[in-house]
């Protein structure tokens, strides 16, 4: 029987085959070839697309280049969402490779944050981890870590070093056995059909009378629409890391094993494809 540790590896080493195509209106000196890349699901777009940029800059003049950004079928892709989440949310039922359009002009200020350097991503990533630990352990674990430990988390992600990342991250996943789980589960539920970027609430892994909360309990509490009633056909898929865990999966286990490196459980609720 496979071990739970394998889940962590599978999550970390999840890759999305992607085809980057330059936006048709970009001015190039010669025709830009599409660029193919395996993107790590748990990383961030702007952190792993140096090669993409280099590739397209070869055919462009420096004066035509502004900040690079991406869209998928017209939807600008938020770099501060993990790549896997972007894929699940927008493209999970489309053909592979994932076709992303690359832009160097007309940055959509209203939809996207600027990302001038990797330090911005690092700041965003670390603030997510801190927020998650505030929920899980009242920030006790993250505050007990040293600066170099924080750096190790970030470097682990940046360099795709599973071992280094988890050597630190496991401390963030510990909890007192007598409590049976974290204080609150750091999660975010993303909806494609909503104006709200995501739903986030305080939710405990164990109820006050000792009952173990499941993914279904969370959805019932936070977004009951996602659960189809017995008498109707399934309307929504609840996707984490490209898979649909059963609703009876314990939330604590999910948080420990299917959280992104930023320590959040990013849950996409997407409509079931009509065909």
């Amino acid at each position: 029987m496979a071990d739970d540790k394998d889940v962590l590896r599978d999550v970390w080493f999840g890759r999305i085959p992607t085809c980057f195509t330059l936006y048709q209106d970009e001015i190039t000196e010669r025709e830009a070839e599409p660029f193919y890349l395996l993107l790590p699901r748990v990383s961030f777009l702007t952190l792993v697309t140096d090669k993409v940029k280099k590739h397209f800059l070869k055919v462009m003049k420096a004066e035509d280049v502004e900040e690079m950004w991406f869209d998928f079928e017209g939807t600008p892709l938020k770099w501060h969402y993990p790549i896997g989440l972007l894929f699940d949310l927008h493209a999970s039922n489309t053909a592979l490779p994932w076709s992303i359009t690359v832009h160097f002009k007309n940055f959509p200020e209203r939809d996207l944050l600027h990302c001038p350097s990797n330090s911005v991503i690092e700041a965003h990533f670390m603030s997510s981890i801190k927020e998650a630990d505030a929920l899980k352990h009242k920030s006790q674990v993250i505050n007990d870590m040293q600066k170099k430990d924080h750096k190790q988390l970030w470097m682990g992600l940046q360099n795709d070093k599973f071992d280094q990342f988890w050597a630190m991250n496991r401390k963030l996943m510990e909890y007192p056995t007598e409590e049976g789980g974290f204080r609150y589960i750091p999660f975010r539920i993303y909806l494609t059909m909503s104006d709200r970027p995501f739903i986030q609430k305080l939710f405990r892994p164990i109820s006050s009378d000792g009952y173990t909360h499941t993914l279904g309990d969370l959805l019932k509490e936070v977004y009951p629409v996602a659960i189809s009633r017995d008498d109707e056909s399934k309307r929504y898929q609840v996707v984490i890391h490209g898979i649909e865990p059963l609703l009876e999966t314990p939330l604590q286990w999910l948080s420990e094993h299917l959280s992104h490196p930023d320590n959040f459980l990013h849950i996409s609720v997407i409509p079931v494809p009509s065909d």
Partner: protein, 1150 residues
């Protein structure tokens, strides 16, 4: 920790037990009687039934309680009759005990009680001091009493032989009645309270217990002679008292406290090994002058008391020198009674709701604990309450069994006259209940309404006994109860509300309430009357499932599935695994040719450490330490370890390739957090890289990281394979080695210095595996562990550890120091030695000063769990104060003083405990000293797998049901022997050889798959004048080592004569031998030429072992790891010997 039981009695007199792993109270079905009180220890439970008689329930065990009776048959030679039973008038009896002073014919032996049975008939012992005798078992001497020999000589005038017969205690798991007989006839009045303990006072005789009881008249009785072979004890002895006692409590050690009628407490003083009854009482005042004490409970080092206002008190300042303590501290909570169990854990029954409460947070540092927490689990009766009630009431109503009939009738005589008519009513009602109940289960709706009706009608119990509803300070006690007690106790000052009254009321309540059919429904709180944790082994680390399964059974089942079996089989888990692998297929399989977004780069982890300098003078120097990791040529992780140091102002560095590291060994000592890194080269030089980290945590971080990267570089991931080799270091750390294919491939096998060993969590003294994945281990405290299939644990957290199959593991061992004294003519023995003498407090060698204060546990992982205590169990014997005498240091010591003795010493022991985690699960309950598994190759799987063991008491055991799927097996089969054993080994074709404690060798006949325990022992004569120590059996070869270090090979073994014919001497200076499944022979040898004169053994391997030449030809004195392996031993118990001082290790295949 093994599963153990908490015992409790409810107000209806039903006895329940709650397992430390369980989640519901199990009713004790055998208890046909209603009980008032129980007092439990690990091996048994004593109770007072409502007939005021004492009952004993000995828990059954795989090893039965059996006692060897012996008697001697004596004969004298005369010219007429040759040897005959015609003895001289001055001679001893024809049948006598060993001394000849007592007449003991065979028919004078009787079973001590009806709870015993004979195992067989008398037979003649044909083993004489380890040597088999002639057929008749006679031993000869010149005259009585003299030295006997097994051979008849010309001057042998007398002879004797020993007859043995075993009797067995049969009343296990049953409440056996204990007659209330004192030395001079029946006791005058019935019992009212009972307390069992005292097992820590002395280990001699084995399983000794103290049992204290209080009679209704307030007298205290002490039961003599309770020990393992006599669980019932001999008889009651009255203990004189300063007043009348209502309740008594006896701890595991020498604490005994009791409560007097007047509300003071008395403390027993003078309890020692020689006098477990103690000598005198001292009075201690009640904590509250207004409200006298009504209850007391003592543990190892604690005393708790309850006063009449139900307040709980904790006694300060209790220790073995001061059993009285110094003062009372009031605690929060109101209890009717309190009980202290193992590890000073505390339980109580709350005054408010009569629920059982557990005191949380009791540790050795904080004995008073933190808070009360209600034990909130359902009772099995709640689910099937009706059916169980019907069966038990049927028993007591009509279908009497012999013993119980008597007990019941005694009860109505003993108790006051009121009981008579009540019982009549009771039985009628019971019959009513039975009929109602038989209808119940079939019609659930009716049952529910029935319960509702019960709940609406006022509970009868409350009406009859206001004490149950009693709030704090509730003064009244039911008149019935007071009358009852006063009939027995002429003296009874008005307003005395002693504990005895309480109990009486409880017992009468028990009779009353039985009149009702099920007085409450499942959701009402159970009312408890008594709790006993004396057999309940929990401590602050224990995870108990007793508290949060409050709501319903469904939720408790669910939390159980999460915590106990880690949801391995749950559908959601399976779904996630399947979907993830589908996702990989979908998203990655077709796109492998795509470029990776992140290029693999070198990753460096740096740190500061101290390094034990390679050159002289050796010392710790500060170094910078770095691990560079990168992707190796084949895509696997690899790395280099750098160590930067300064030498003569010059910056230099030292490096080691991660893929060349052979083993990382933590070497915790009390001053530094050090570890050693070995490579093949450094093993040859016997000079590892020794490093010390600043903190333990840092060391563990580094060790875990290095360990993972070593494993990565060798492509080792996950749990050890089934063929893995297992080893333990002398520190108890567990290591495994993956045999590479080349290990099997002769003629160029991997040299052992290049074998890579990585650590697995856990702590063991010995480990044994069968190369099919069945791995057993034994801890220093003889606890047995079976490998669970996981990996990691201990400091190997996170990735280096599996999530499942990792459990808490504990080990306990003793640290010994010696107190040395020299005699001088003026003052006798003093602690002033000669200037040339050893330290007056020292280690065993006398070279190291070890005082009680400065001696620390072996490493920071160990913590003291007890105080220093004199060790009487040292070889050579001791006097009553534990001293051993000798003419001078250092020499051999004996246990009594002679005129020639000028020095003496005694050994002090202190227990320390280690708590860690690892892929090991305990195999309770029998502690072992040796274990052996049949060695087998992958092609020849035999199931069930034969596994034999020797318990720490010397019993030979055969494990049933060991398979690859259930490596822990199911149960032990006890294999009877006439004496304790010490070593056992099973070889290729089910040959079982064993060594008894007297040094004789035995072969077990007819061991087959059908009869796994064989049929009988064949006594194999030892080599002349040698006592054997250890045995090891390979495919066919049998080797033994004797006490003088000689190695013997058994000659003449053939399939038709598996016992062989004679012993052939192979070698001397051998400490231990191990024979592999291909008859490979490995030894640990001492004094090997050319090696250092260090005490740690050298591993040698026998060369030239061939199928036709099983003895081999010569030794390969492979020093340390330098020796090469010819055939790889598949019996892979390998021991590393590792000495802190020299960091030297060698590998030993046993």
């Amino acid at each position: 920790m093994p599963v153990s039981l908490l015992w409790a009695v409810d107000v209806y007199g039903r006895v329940y037990s709650l397992s430390t792993r369980g989640q519901q109270w199990e009713q004790c079905r055998d208890a046909v009687l209603e009980f008032k009180r129980v007092t439990a220890v690990q091996q048994c439970c004593w109770g007072i039934a409502c007939d005021h008689h004492i009952y004993l329930n000995v828990h059954s065990s795989d090893v039965p309680i059996r006692y060897q009776e012996e008697t001697f048959e004596n004969q004298r030679w005369n010219p007429m009759d040759n040897f005959s039973d015609r003895l001289l008038p001055s001679d001893r009896w024809q049948w006598s005990n060993i001394t000849g002073l007592e007449h003991q014919p065979l028919d004078s032996f009787f079973l001590p009680s009806t709870n015993w049975e004979w195992e067989g008939d008398w037979y003649i012992d044909e083993n004489f001091g380890g040597e088999p005798t002639e057929k008749e078992g006679w031993t000869y001497a010149i005259d009585f009493p003299a030295t006997y020999t097994k051979d008849k000589k010309w001057n042998s005038c007398v002879r004797r032989r020993r007859w043995i017969r075993y009797r067995r205690y049969k009343a296990t798991d049953n409440w056996a009645t204990i007659p209330s007989e004192g030395r001079s006839g029946p006791l005058p009045d019935p019992f009212n309270d009972i307390s069992c303990g005292g097992w820590e006072i002395s280990e001699e005789p084995r399983g000794r217990l103290s049992l204290w009881a209080v009679s209704l008249q307030g007298k205290v009785w002490f039961r003599e002679g309770i020990h393992h072979h006599s669980p019932e004890g001999d008889g009651w002895e009255e203990v004189s008292l300063p007043g009348e006692v209502v309740q008594i409590s006896c701890g595991p050690g020498d604490l005994v406290w009791a409560v007097l009628w007047e509300g003071q407490l008395i403390v027993r003083e003078g309890i020692t090994r020689d006098c477990p009854r103690g000598s005198s009482w001292v009075v201690v005042d009640s904590p509250n002058p207004e409200a006298g004490a009504i209850h007391v409970a003592v543990g190892d080092n604690v005393v708790w008391a309850v006063t009449k206002d139900n307040k709980v008190w904790y006694r300060r300042g209790i220790n073995s020198y001061n059993p009285r303590g110094s003062g009372w501290i009031g605690m929060i909570g109101e209890m009717v009674m309190i009980n202290v169990g193992l590890n000073d854990q505390v339980w109580g029954i709350s005054c408010e709701d009569r629920a059982v409460y557990f005191r949380q947070g009791v540790t050795s540092n904080e004995l008073s604990g933190k808070a009360w927490k209600a034990v909130n689990v359902p009772r099995d009766g709640d689910i099937r309450s009706h059916s169980s009630a019907s069966s038990s009431s049927l028993h007591s109503a009509g279908c009497f069994f012999s013993g119980e009939v008597r007990a019941q009738s005694v009860m109505s005589e003993d108790s006051d006259t009121k009981n008579g008519p009540q019982r009549a009513v009771l039985e009628v009602k019971r019959e009513g209940a039975t009929t109602a109940v038989t209808a119940g289960p079939s019609i659930p709706e009716e049952e529910a309404s029935l319960r509702e009706a019960d709940a609406k009608s006022p509970p009868l119990a409350l009406v009859l006994s206001p004490s149950l509803s009693g709030g704090p300070g509730d003064p009244q006690w039911s008149n019935v109860d007071l009358e009852e007690t006063q009939t027995h106790l002429a003296v009874g000052p008005a307003g005395v509300r002693g504990d005895a009254a309480d109990t009486c009321s409880l017992s009468s309540v028990a009779t009353y309430t039985l009149c009702q059919e099920e007085p409450y429904g499942a959701d009402e709180h159970p009312l408890w009357a008594w709790v006993s944790g004396g057999g309940c082994g929990v401590d602050c680390h224990s995870q108990l499932n007793w508290f949060n399964s409050a709501t319903a059974l469904s939720s408790s089942v669910q939390s159980m599935s999460l915590s106990i079996s880690p949801a391995q089989t749950a559908a959601w888990r399976k779904q996630i695994f399947e979907q993830l692998s589908e996702r990989s297929k979908r998203e990655m399989d077709n796109f492998k040719h795509y470029e990776q977004a992140i290029e693999q780069s070198v990753w460096v982890k740096k740190g500061a450490m101290q390094w034990w300098r390679d050159w002289k003078p050796h010392k710790w120097v500060d170094v910078r330490f770095a691990l560079e990791q990168f992707s190796g040529p084949e895509g696997n992780q690899d790395g280099i370890l750098f160590l930067y140091y300064n030498f003569n102002e010059e910056k230099k560095y030292l490096h080691a390739f991660i893929n060349e590291v052979t083993i990382l060994v933590p070497v915790l000592n009390d001053s530094k957090h050090t570890f050693a890194v070995y490579t093949a080269e450094r093993t040859k030089q016997r000079w590892p890289i020794r490093l010390a980290a600043a903190t333990e945590l840092e060391m563990h971080d580094w060790l875990a990281l290095l360990s993972v990267s070593c494993c990565d570089s060798r492509g080792i991931q996950g749990p050890p394979s089934k063929q893995a080799l297992w080893s333990v270091t002398c520190k108890g750390d567990v290591f495994v080695c993956e045999p590479s294919p080349s290990l099997e491939a002769c003629p160029y096998p991997t040299p052992c210095d290049q074998m890579f060993w990585h650590q697995v969590g856990g702590h063991l003294r010995l480990v044994e595996c069968n190369s099919l994945g069945v791995v057993w281990g034994v801890g220093y405290d003889h606890t047995v562990w079976v490998y669970t299939g996981g990996y990691g644990g201990g400091f190997l957290q996170g990735l280096a550890s599996s999530t499942d199959n990792i459990y808490t593991q504990t080990d306990v061992k003793c640290v010994y120091i010696y107190e040395n004294q020299r005699w001088n003519p003026v003052t006798g023995y003093t602690n002033r030695g000669l200037p040339t003498d050893r330290y007056m407090w020292s280690d065993a060698t006398g070279l190291q000063e070890c005082t009680k204060a400065n001696t620390k546990p072996p490493s920071p992982h160990w913590t003291w769990v007890a105080d220093w205590a004199i060790d009487y169990g040292i070889s050579g014997g001791t006097d009553r104060e534990g001293w051993q005498y000798a003419a001078d240091f250092p020499t051999s010591y004996h246990g009594h003083k002679t005129l020639k003795d000028f020095v003496r010493r005694r050994r002090w022991a202190r227990k320390c405990k280690l708590t860690t985690t690892g892929p090991w699960q305990e195999v309770p309950p029998i502690p072992l000293s040796d274990v052996t598994i049949i060695p087998c190759g992958a092609q020849s799987i035999v199931e069930p797998i034969p596994l034999w063991a020797i318990s720490n008491k010397g019993d030979v055991l055969c494990r049933l049901g060991v398979t690859l799927l259930t490596p822990a097996g199911t149960s032990w089969l006890h294999v009877g022997t006439d004496q304790p054993f010490k070593s056992i080994s099973i070889g290729g074709a089910n040959q079982v050889w064993a060594i008894a404690r007297d040094g004789s060798a035995f072969y077990r006949g007819s061991v087959t798959a059908q009869s796994p325990s064989g049929d009988c022992w064949y006594h194999i004569p030892s080599p002349v004048r040698q006592k054997l120590q250890q045995v090891s059996v390979g495919r066919t070869s049998v080797y033994t080592v004797d006490q003088h270090g000689n190695l013997w090979f058994r000659q003449g073994l053939t399939p038709s004569c598996p016992q062989g014919s004679s012993w052939e001497h192979i070698s001397n200076n051998v400490r231990k031998v191990s024979v592999g499944p291909l008859d490979q022979v490995w030894i640990i040898a001492d004094k090997v030429q050319g090696s250092h004169s260090l005490s740690c053994g050298t591993v040698c391997h026998r060369l030239g072992v061939q199928p036709m030449e099983p003895k081999g030809q010569s030794w390969d004195y492979g020093i340390g790891l330098a020796g090469h392996v010819q055939h790889f031993p598949h019996r892979a118990l390998v021991i590393f010997k590792l000495c802190d001082s020299v960091f030297e290790h060698c590998i030993i295949v046993i």
